[in-house]
C-alpha cells in the first residue's frame, strides 16, 4: 500500500515535470516526428522484402512471400559478384585508407613549427569539401586516355595509354586512393585532437631517458590514441558494407562493372531503375543486417578485449 502511494507520487511528480517543460517537448516534437516518419516508417516498409509489392495494393495489402526474394538473390549469379566486390573494396579501404590518417597525425604532431603545422592542415583539409561529383569528374579528366595528364606522362615515356576509368582491374585502386587523396587530411583531425591530450610529462621523462622521436611516437603517442583508433575502427566496420556508394555509382560504367558492382549499386539498379521493389528491398535489408551484426559483434569483441567500445 505504502509503496503504491510512493509510486503514484513519483508518477505525479514526473507528470508535473513534463507539464512544466511542455515547451521543450514542443521543441522536440518536429524532430521526433521526422524520425518516426522518415526513418521508422521505412524500417516498417522494409517488410516489402518479404512480400510481393504491388503498387496498387500498397505495402500493407501486398501478399506475403516469405524469404523468396532472399533465396532468389542468394542463388543468382550476381550474388557472388556483388558480395566479392563489396568485401574487397571495403577491406582495401580498411587496410589503406584507415591507417594513413593515423600515421599522418602522428607525424604532424611532431612538427614544432606552428605555422608549418597550420599550413599542412589548411592544405590537406581542403579536398574534403569538394563534392563527390567533382572528384569523380577530376578522375575522368586526369585519367582520360585521350587527353588525361597521367596518360600523357605515359606517352612521354613511350607507353601505351590506359583507359583507367573503364578498367575493371584499376577500379578499386582508383577508388581507394582518390579517397585517400580527398579525406586523409580531414580524417586526421580527430587523432590530432586525441594527441593534444597526451601528457607532456611522459614525453619529458622519455627524453631524459634518451628516447628518440620515433621511439616516443611508438611507445607513447600511439598507445595514447589507441582508444580513439578503436572507436573509429568499430564505426568503420559498422558501415563496412555501406561506404562510398555514391562515389562508386559515379565511377561505374559498363566496362568496369565487373569490378564496381557492389550491393548498394545493385539495389539501386534493380530497385529504382528496373522497379523490382521487393527484390531490391530484400537485398538492401540483407546488407543492413550484415552491417548491424558486424557493428554489434565487433563492439562486443572490443569490449571483451578490454578495449574502448561504443557502449
Amino acid at each position: 500500500m505504502k509503496t503504491n502511494t510512493s509510486q503514484s507520487a513519483i508518477l505525479l511528480s514526473k507528470w508535473k515535470r513534463i507539464r512544466k517543460h511542455y515547451q521543450l517537448y514542443l521543441f522536440l516534437f518536429p524532430t521526433i516526428l521526422f524520425f518516426l516518419v522518415f526513418h521508422y516508417i521505412p524500417m516498417y516498409g522494409v517488410t516489402i522484402a518479404f512480400k510481393n509489392f504491388i503498387a496498387s495494393k500498397g505495402i500493407i495489402g501486398s501478399p506475403w512471400v516469405g524469404f523468396d526474394h532472399f533465396e532468389r538473390f542468394f542463388s543468382s549469379y550476381k550474388f557472388s559478384i556483388v558480395m566479392w566486390n563489396t568485401l574487397i573494396i571495403n577491406l582495401y579501404e580498411l587496410l589503406i585508407a584507415f591507417p594513413i590518417p593515423i600515421i599522418l597525425a602522428l607525424l604532424l604532431n611532431q612538427v614544432n613549427n606552428a605555422r608549418f603545422k597550420k599550413l599542412v592542415q589548411t592544405v590537406t583539409y581542403a579536398p574534403h569539401f569538394i563534392s563527390v561529383v567533382v572528384i569523380v569528374g577530376m578522375l575522368y579528366l586526369f585519367l582520360s586516355p585521350r587527353n588525361g595528364l597521367l596518360n600523357q606522362l605515359f606517352a612521354w615515356f613511350g607507353g601505351e595509354p590506359v583507359f583507367f576509368m573503364a578498367s575493371a582491374e584499376w577500379f578499386k585502386t582508383i577508388f581507394v586512393f582518390s579517397g585517400v587523396w580527398q579525406n586523409a587530411g580531414w580524417s586526421m583531425i580527430i587523432y590530432l585532437a586525441a594527441l593534444t591530450a597526451v601528457s607532456l610529462d611522459l614525453h619529458e621523462a622519455a627524453i631524459v631517458d634518451g628516447a628518440s622521436k620515433f621511439q616516443r611516437i611508438w611507445h607513447i603517442d600511439l598507445p595514447s590514441i589507441l582508444p580513439t583508433i578503436m572507436i573509429l575502427l568499430i564505426l568503420n566496420i559498422g558501415s563496412f558494407m555501406a561506404v562510398g556508394f555514391e562515389k562508386i555509382y559515379l565511377m561505374q560504367n559498363p566496362l568496369n562493372i565487373g569490378s564496381s558492382e557492389v550491393i548498394q549499386t545493385y539495389v539501386y539498379q534493380t530497385g529504382l531503375l528496373s522497379a523490382q521493389y521487393s527484390y531490391s528491398a530484400a537485398v538492401g535489408l540483407f546488407n543492413s543486417v550484415i552491417n548491424f551484426v558486424l557493428l554489434v559483434g565487433f563492439n562486443q569483441l572490443a569490449k571483451s578485449m578490454k578495449q574502448a567500445s561504443l557502449w
Partner: protein, 294 residues
C-alpha cells in the same frame, strides 16, 4: 643529453618536414592543374602542354559557362535547396539538441530512438516509396525534407549545450519566471554562435555537394541542382565519348565541352572556396565537439 639520439631526431625532423611538404604538393597539384587548365587553350590542354603554367590564355571556357542555361538553372536550384535545407536543418537541430540536453522525462528513450537510426535503416527502396507516397517526388521538398535533421548533428549540439549551458542557470531563470522558450531565445542562442556556425556550415556544404537525392527524387530538368548538371558534363559525356564515339572526337561539340570542363569545376567549387577559411575553423571545432562524446 645523449648526443646520439639528437642526431637521429634531427634526421627524423628533416625527413618529416620533407615528407609533409611532398604531401602538400600531392594534394595541391591536381587542384592547381584544374585552375591553369581552365584558362588555357583547350588544344594545348589536350596536347598535355599545360602542366606547370597556363598556355594560350583564354577565357572562352568561362564565357561558355556563363552562356550555358543549364548551369545557371542548376546554380539557382542549388542555392535555393542549400538555403532552405540549411534553415530547416539548423532550426530542428538546435531546438531538438537543446531539449535533449536538459533533464527531461523520457530523454533516454528519445535519444535511443534517434541514435538507433545511425546504425540501422530501412534502406533505399522503402524510403523511395515513402517519398512517392507523400507526394514529394519531383518537388523541391524531396531535396530538403528527407534530410531535415541528422542524428549525428543532434548528438553534437546536445553535447555542446550540456557543456555550455549549466542546468543551474536554467533553473535560476525558471525561478524568475522565465519560460523555456524565452530562455532558449534570450540566453541560450546568443551563447551558442560556435555551434550555430558549425551547423550552418555542415548542412550548407552537405546540401551544396549532394547529388544522389536529386538523382533519385527529381525527374524534371528545371529542378536539377548544379551537381547533377556537373555529372552530365563531367562524367556522363566523358564516359560516352571514350566508349562510344571516339570517331567523332574532333567535332565542335566535343571541343566546347573540353573547354568548359575545367572552368566548371572552379565555378562549382566557388562558394566552398569563399567559405573555406570559416569552414576550416568551424568544421574543426565541430569535429572536436563531436569527438568528446565519441
Amino acid at each position: 643529453m645523449p648526443i646520439k639520439s639528437n642526431a637521429a631526431d634531427r634526421w627524423f625532423d628533416v625527413l618529416n618536414y620533407g615528407f609533409l611538404t611532398l604531401l602538400m604538393l600531392i594534394v595541391l597539384y591536381p587542384l592547381y592543374v584544374i585552375v591553369i587548365s581552365s584558362v588555357s587553350d583547350p588544344n594545348s590542354v589536350n596536347a598535355g602542354q599545360v602542366w606547370l603554367l597556363p598556355k594560350g590564355l583564354t577565357f572562352e571556357g568561362y564565357e561558355r559557362i556563363f552562356q550555358d542555361e543549364r548551369i545557371w538553372t542548376g546554380y539557382r536550384n542549388s542555392l535555393l535547396y542549400t538555403t532552405l535545407g540549411t534553415c530547416i536543418n539548423v532550426v530542428l537541430t538546435l531546438t531538438a539538441g537543446y531539449a535533449l540536453s536538459r533533464n527531461l522525462v523520457g530523454r533516454g528513450g528519445f535519444m535511443f530512438l534517434i541514435v538507433f537510426t545511425m546504425f540501422f535503416g530501412g534502406g533505399l527502396i522503402p524510403s523511395y516509396l515513402l517519398i512517392k507516397e507523400l507526394g514529394m517526388y519531383n518537388t523541391i521538398w524531396s531535396q530538403v525534407i528527407p534530410t531535415a535533421v541528422g542524428a549525428w548533428n543532434i548528438i553534437m549540439t546536445r553535447t555542446f549545450f550540456q557543456m555550455t549551458i549549466p542546468n543551474e542557470l536554467q533553473e535560476a531563470a525558471e525561478m524568475d519566471g522565465c519560460s523555456d522558450a524565452k530562455f532558449f531565445w534570450k540566453i541560450v542562442l546568443p551563447l551558442s554562435t560556435p555551434i550555430i556556425a558549425v551547423m550552418v556550415l555542415f548542412s550548407a556544404v552537405g546540401h551544396w555537394n549532394s547529388y544522389f537525392q536529386a538523382l533519385i527524387y527529381l525527374r524534371e530538368e528545371a529542378l536539377q541542382p548544379l551537381q547533377i548538371v556537373l555529372r552530365e558534363i563531367l562524367i556522363v559525356n566523358e564516359t560516352q565519348e571514350n566508349t562510344l564515339t571516339i570517331a567523332q572526337s574532333d567535332s565542335e561539340t566535343l571541343r566546347i565541352v573540353d573547354v568548359m570542363k575545367y572552368g566548371i569545376i572552379i565555378v562549382a567549387c566557388l562558394p566552398m572556396l569563399v567559405l573555406y577559411p570559416f569552414l576550416q575553423r568551424y568544421f574543426v571545432k565541430g569535429v572536436m565537439i563531436g569527438s568528446i562524446k565519441g
